[in-house]
Symmetry: C2
Subunit: 317 residues, 2 copies
DNA sequence: ATTAATTACGTAATCAGTTACGCAAATATA
DNA sequence: TATATTTGCGTAACTGATTACGTAATTAAT
């Protein structure tokens, strides 16, 4: 089980928490050292009020990055100590405008020395370290703002999954999976049609022998996606992309994208210049995928499928 | 009140907390992404067990840096899920030995991919930043281990206070404070003696005119500490350090140290080679101070004070 | 062999935050 | 003008941690 030993950096969350605790734990005693009767958790609110004089509960919450009930509670505690005073906003009766009381302003005077010393202590630690914590936090905040950890992990997962997916040529043993995967989604959203059965029951005769191709996507050896390139006897298009199906088991693994990409490559290698496809706008993820791949909406082509309500083409560059 | 604007770095605690929150908040969803039924708070325990196979509650608590009740609760939750199993230690009936169950081991297999991806995501963030958070945390942990934030702040306070303290020569207007500060501590711990009154009621005649000195420490203009150097008619010692008194108001401000240091300098500038003093072991802070200044215990000198149970001397280098 | 101190650990109470919810005031919309 | 939506904020319930405390087992000291 020593696999875990190599995955150290996932512990960054824990390490951050522990450091936060260590930095924070002395706070109460530091106030005592300066004879200031204040709870550490009040400080951000206090600080915000000292800077801005007047603020409503919600403004304070936003300023210090807490929820408003948290601020509400803190204010009621500080009120009991007489450090702040409340007053209703004249023009907006919902707002509770909070400001430091005379006693609060006195405390803010007393606290100055403490802030100077704490600041000096932190600067000392910074000066003694090679790596700048303050700046590093800033960078992490920025980077996580740009893209959350969840999103980054999702990308990494997709990347790694892609490596596990192999796209291979159709073989007769895949006829069953080719059929079942397609039947699954077609009958989920629509009903199977005559033309479907022709292609799915006899891919060899109906697709391959006519100059088309079928590709299969395998994930860890298991076939979980299929896609066909049907030769078209048409002056305009070389192939039709059809019978694309991915198992629900493989959802979110990028199988559709890899499969479609491979089939386009195949068409390109065969000298095709234009690919056609038919779909239905109910199938939003599919439409998005086609769009991402460069397909553009076209109209006017006759189709044997009743479920077709959108037609698209891709000009191969 | 824009003073506060300049004291930015005290906010390091808040910034750390917020970053911790941000890094942590996606955790639950990341588990969901991999279809792993686990609460984020279980992970450290899980991880520790995956590395070491068997551990008691207390060992786990130490390993993950939580309190033991916290681990106790987590284990009982994981037990309900069937991820761990408990068993009493045979040789020590108090110990609750915990290990992963079969189901737990299965989860640990499933979780590997997730760890790889999370790790990759964190490495990506690290690679995109100039400042190294991971290393910076390590340095801070080390530095705070060496000396806590509280201790550092205390030092800064002392430094700053020292600057505010001035040591000046005795003037007649300080006779009252010289008397009252000494009476205060003497009568708190002992009773005033004949010799005390002589010196305190008439410092001019009893100390200064005989070739002695008195120094006064002022904190923000207010006299809060006194110390005398009494000329001795003795073949061995030049002066006696006596009547040192610091107001309780100035406790913790290093006044005693500065005062004693100044009086030793005074003696040195007068060509003294040995200073003597008398005290009582009840007065621990005072004895510590004398020790810190280099005074050594001696014995055998006759003394007029009944409260004296320790005698010390300093050889001036 | 008692007695005292220490250790392991579970339960209870507490704490500092959160989310959920509901009321009232203000604002937007029909 | 009536009605719906949004906003401000307080209360309540929950969460993940803590400290405090009690009990039982072990170890040390007399």
């Amino acid at each position: 089980m020593n696999f875990f030993e190599e995955t150290g950096k996932v512990a960054i969350g824990s390490r951050l928490r522990m450091l936060t605790d260590k930095v924070t734990e002395d706070a109460a005693q530091i106030y005592k050292l300066y004879n200031i009767d204040m709870q550490p958790k009040w400080f951000p609110v206090f600080y915000a009020l000292a800077q801005e004089k007047e603020k409503t509960i919600t403004e304070l919450a936003k300023a210090i990055g807490h929820s408003h009930p948290s601020v509400s509670k803190i204010i009621s505690e500080m009120l009991k100590k007489g450090y702040v005073k409340e007053s209703k906003d004249k023009t907006d009766g919902r707002r509770n405008v909070v400001s430091l009381s005379k006693k609060g302003v006195e405390i803010s005077e007393k606290i100055k020395d403490q802030l100077i010393d704490v600041n000096a202590a932190i600067e000392e630690i910074s000066a003694q370290s090679q790596n700048k914590l303050w700046e590093a936090i800033g960078e992490w905040e920025f980077l996580l703002e740009q893209k959350t950890l969840l999103r980054r992990v999702m990308e990494k997962k997709k990347e790694r999954d892609s490596l596990k997916i192999e796209i291979i040529d159709y073989q007769p043993k895949y006829q069953e999976i080719f059929r079942s995967l397609n039947v699954e989604w077609i009958s989920q959203y629509f009903t199977m049609e005559e033309t479907d059965y022709k292609a799915l029951d006899n891919p060899q005769g109906y697709i391959l022998d006519k100059g088309g191709f079928i590709l299969v996507a395998r994930y860890e050896g298991e076939p979980l996606g299929v896609c066909a390139l049907v030769k078209m006897n048409d002056g305009e298009y070389d192939f039709e992309l059809a019978k694309m199906a991915v198992s629900p088991k493989a959802q979110g693994k990028n199988v559709g994208f890899l499969l479609a990409n491979a089939i386009i490559d195949k068409a390109r290698s065969l000298g095709a210049s234009k690919i056609y496809l038919e779909s239905n706008t109910i199938l939003k993820p599919a439409i998005n995928l086609y769009h991402k791949l460069g397909f553009q909406k076209v109209a006017g082509k006759p189709t044997p499928y009743t479920r077709c309500n959108i037609q698209m083409e891709l000009v191969i560059g």
